[in-house]
């Protein structure tokens, strides 16, 4: 594309729709001042500022903080106020069963007489732990593979990407079902089986994101420029890649936590995920199924908890992506 060089300056041609305001160049005396912009900050400060302005994201963040605090401190207040959430086979408990919501039991009680609200709080603990840790595992594996892929290129790259394709070919749930059902009975306790399963599933996407960050920096002009100035390759790349890669990975990870929580809930619902005595929202829904006709609350409240938490992570992730957009665009 050539244009005859007969004009002094070239800028962007205006399109038919409303153009963005053009930045005034040298502001000659007598013209209106440049529009006020925010005081210049660091990139992260800038992102935080933009995030703050996103009301939905802030509401989401607040909600998550509230839930996290409630769940983290659960042992301190739930059993005292609402009774033992894991109680089974107690005479007094049976007298309490399947109650409608009331002052003592804001969400009613389940078929074992346990307070539903208390169980929801404990379920939050499980979901949040599983969500964060599983995504953490994915990120760890993903970073390693992504780095190898991006840095070494060639066969390593192709090999890892094909492996990623293989993992991605599996529908999430099916793969998880496969892994968990193969697990011997006595290994299925606790949170780790589910955490590892979900974590192992999620690495391909992270690896890809990280890899493309690396590749785009490799090609980047300022890296070439740095090379021309004699800077060592690896140092150059680490310094340039890290800030670039961090942003999309953080955004992706945040939104993945929501997905991880949904997967955990689904697995627990199917009987493969979190098993008693641990409390999981998905398992609560499965338990409550048989009483749907008389006490829909047993199903409703845990589900609402899942919905609100996952939604919060999604909105937060969206907000973070918008806030970091400038950084991610390059």
């Amino acid at each position: 594309m050539t244009d005859s060089d007969n004009t002094a300056t070239e800028g962007m041609e205006n399109g038919p729709a409303a153009p963005a305001a053009e930045t005034p160049g040298a502001t000659p005396p007598g013209t209106s001042p440049v529009s006020t912009s925010e005081p210049s900050r660091t990139l992260w400060g800038d992102a935080w500022y933009r995030l703050r302005r996103n009301k939905l994201a802030i509401i989401a963040l607040t909600w998550l903080i509230v839930i996290t605090l409630a769940a983290a401190t659960a042992d301190l207040w739930v059993p005292q106020l609402f009774g033992n959430p894991r109680l089974i086979n107690s005479q007094t408990a049976y007298q309490n069963q399947l109650q409608l919501p009331s002052k003592e039991h804001p969400m009613g009680t389940d078929q074992m007489g346990r307070d539903v609200f208390g169980r929801v709080i404990y379920g939050a603990r499980v979901s949040l732990i599983v969500g964060f840790t599983a995504v953490g595992v994915s990120v760890l594996i993903g970073l390693i593979f992504g780095a190898m892929s991006g840095f070494y290129g060639g066969f390593t790259d192709t090999g890892i990407m094909r492996l990623a394709d293989v993992f991605l070919a599996f529908p999430y749930i099916m793969f998880a079902i496969l892994l968990l059902s193969v697990l011997p009975q006595n290994w299925r306790t606790g949170l780790w089986p589910v955490i590892l399963t979900i974590g192992v599933l999620g690495w391909p996407s992270i690896a890809r994101v990280f890899r493309s960050s690396i590749l785009s920096v490799k090609e980047n002009d300022y890296v070439q420029a740095g090379r021309a100035l004699g800077a060592k390759d690896s140092r150059l790349m680490i310094r340039h890649i890290a800030p670039n890669a961090v942003a999309p990975i953080i955004v992706y990870a945040t939104m993945s936590i929501g997905g991880a929580i949904l997967t955990e809930a689904a697995l627990s619902f199917l009987g493969l995920g979190i098993l008693p005595p641990n409390i999981s929202w998905g398992a609560m829904i499965q338990d409550g199924r048989q009483y749907l006709v008389v006490r829909p609350g047993l199903v409703f409240w845990p589900g609402l908890a899942i919905l609100s938490t996952v939604l919060a992570f999604t909105l937060l992730g969206d907000g973070m992506r918008d806030a970091l957009d400038v950084k991610m665009k390059d």
Binding site: V166, M174, L178, A265, V299, L307
Partner: protein
């Protein structure tokens, strides 16, 4: 175009082998006791155990086992159910059609409502409708599907029955019975299954339309004197639809792959439900067989969608010829 198709096929092969290898690994190598997985937990005479082990070929080196594994799959042999001794393949042969029925119903809903909502949203950007669509799609993708199913069951099956004294309500489980025509049983499960996908489809349709709107060829169309309607249906839709159609194709694959959660909630006797019950009964051959089947469906449907993309997009169909 041929080049594109061949390339896709070439990429497919390692993935295919990788997937089967992984499946094989997880079901045969990884578990401590592959024999027990296939025969149940009952106590067994050690001699019988060894015989079985040999019969299954578990004493052979892994690569031989893998080849046998592939051979068996090609033959359509996925093992035998522990619970009732039937061949796994046969079990799924019976239940697969039900899943297909459900998936087709769900896809139809998704096409009508997803694309429709997306179009209206894009046309009336920022209007009340658009906001509603954006809001509801955000919520839908955060919903646990099985929970939605149960809430629908409760509302349309139980509450409605109460409120209208039994005059109007929908069936909430199974494929037939309860005095309802068979298709009525499809309604709630199909809505449940379609819900999340419809949300995504609407979003994609909307964003595609908006992106196309800014394209130069749309401006050209207006400059030729076309009306808004003509520009939308004539020029914008065809371009915007290509990614949407691709998405829906992939979605069909996902739905055919068992929709285990929805089927479980509604006791819909498809692949997913079968797998679910097998999990509970520790009938692992059925579980493995089901997952394998699902995987194959997804793999091949994805390949199909990939290739059909070549036919949809003229830029790929006719590779550019550079002439002056």
């Amino acid at each position: 175009m041929l080049q594109y198709i061949v390339r896709r096929l070439i990429q497919f092969i390692p993935v295919f082998f990788g997937v089967t290898l992984l499946l094989f690994f997880i079901t045969t190598i990884l578990p401590g006791d592959p024999v027990r997985l296939r025969t149940g937990e009952k106590a067994m005479d050690p001699a019988v155990y060894q015989e079985l082990r040999h019969a299954y070929g578990f004493d052979k080196p892994w690569y031989e086992q893998y080849v046998n594994y592939l051979k068996n799959m090609a033959k359509g042999d996925l093992g035998t159910s522990i619970r009732n001794g039937r061949r796994v393949t046969k079990i799924f042969q019976e239940t697969f059609p039900n899943t297909v029925k459900l998936a087709l119903a769900a896809i139809t809903l998704e096409i009508i409502f997803g694309i429709g909502a997306g179009i209206i949203s894009a046309l009336k950007q920022y209007s009340f409708w658009d906001v509603m669509v954006t809001l509801s799609t955000s919520i839908l993708v955060a919903l646990p599907v099985f929970w939605l199913g149960m809430m629908l069951q409760y509302f349309f099956g139980i509450l409605m029955k109460q409120w209208t004294n039994g005059a109007f309500y929908l069936p909430i489980s199974g494929v037939s019975g309860g005095g309802f025509p068979d298709w009525a049983h499809l309604i709630l499960p199909a809505i449940t299954l379609a819900s999340v996908s419809t949300a995504y489809a609407a979003r994609i349709m909307r964003s595609q339309l908006l992106e196309v709107k800014g394209q130069d060829y749309v401006r050209t169309a207006y400059a030729k004197g076309l009306s808004h309607r003509r520009v939308l249906w004539g020029h914008q839709m065809k371009n915007a639809l290509i990614p949407v159609v691709t998405y829906i194709g992939l979605d069909l694959a996902a739905m055919l792959s068992g929709a285990i959660l929805t089927e479980t909630v509604f006791n819909w006797p498809g692949i997913g439900f079968t797998i679910y019950r097998a999990i509970g009964a520790r009938d692992y051959p059925v579980v493995f067989g089901g997952v394998t089947l699902v995987l194959f469906v997804v793999l091949f449907m994805n390949l199909f969608v990939d290739i059909s993309y070549a036919f949809l997009d003229p830029r790929i169909r006719y590779t550019p010829a550079a002439q002056e």
